[in-house]
Symmetry: C2
Subunit: 102 residues, 2 copies
């Protein structure tokens, strides 16, 4: 009986297995932003992303055009967008990456 | 002397060390494209990319919106665009990724 309870407790504490879809979101207006500033912005996402079961894997910046591309995993596009909004840099576009090749 | 010639020959055959900048290019109009079709399109790039010292590292597709994002390394944005054009799928946008975080 003790063993059964321990197993149940273990299962309850496991992370919820939500489907983790990949997304690419795009920000505009980051003209002239530095590597340090991008790092700080990214860290603001990382600090709160767990609230929505999101993970921001990578961010790339073209400081001339001001475009930022963020590759993320999460349960929905809304979850990804909410984290970016709360972190102070809402994305202007987001795409669900159903297919990829490498 | 033979050893010297062998060394010179080795140096001549080394890949040219051009600066390899990262680029993200974006294609539109790939609505409903399948994983197999994306793979075939990507392979057409890979087959000729060495002509321009380019390497396409990754491609992501959102088949609903028809957007494709390609991450590449190469000596210039023009070199990347020439490969995509010759492969039959010109990109509509390209960005030089001077900064990245992960």
């Amino acid at each position: 009986m003790t063993a059964g309870c321990a197993t149940a407790s273990f299962d309850e504490n496991r992370p919820q297995e939500k489907p983790m879809t990949k997304f690419m979101d795009v920000h505009s207006g980051f003209v002239g932003v530095t590597a340090q500033q991008l790092k700080e912005a990214h860290e603001r996402d990382l600090a709160i992303e767990a609230d929505e079961s999101v993970h921001f894997e990578h961010a790339w910046l073209d400081p001339e055009s001001g475009k930022v591309f963020c590759l993320a995993r999460g349960p929905s596009r809304e979850a990804v967008l909410r984290i970016h909004e709360r972190a102070g840099h809402p994305a202007s576009e987001i795409y669900e990456l159903a297919v990829e090749v490498a």
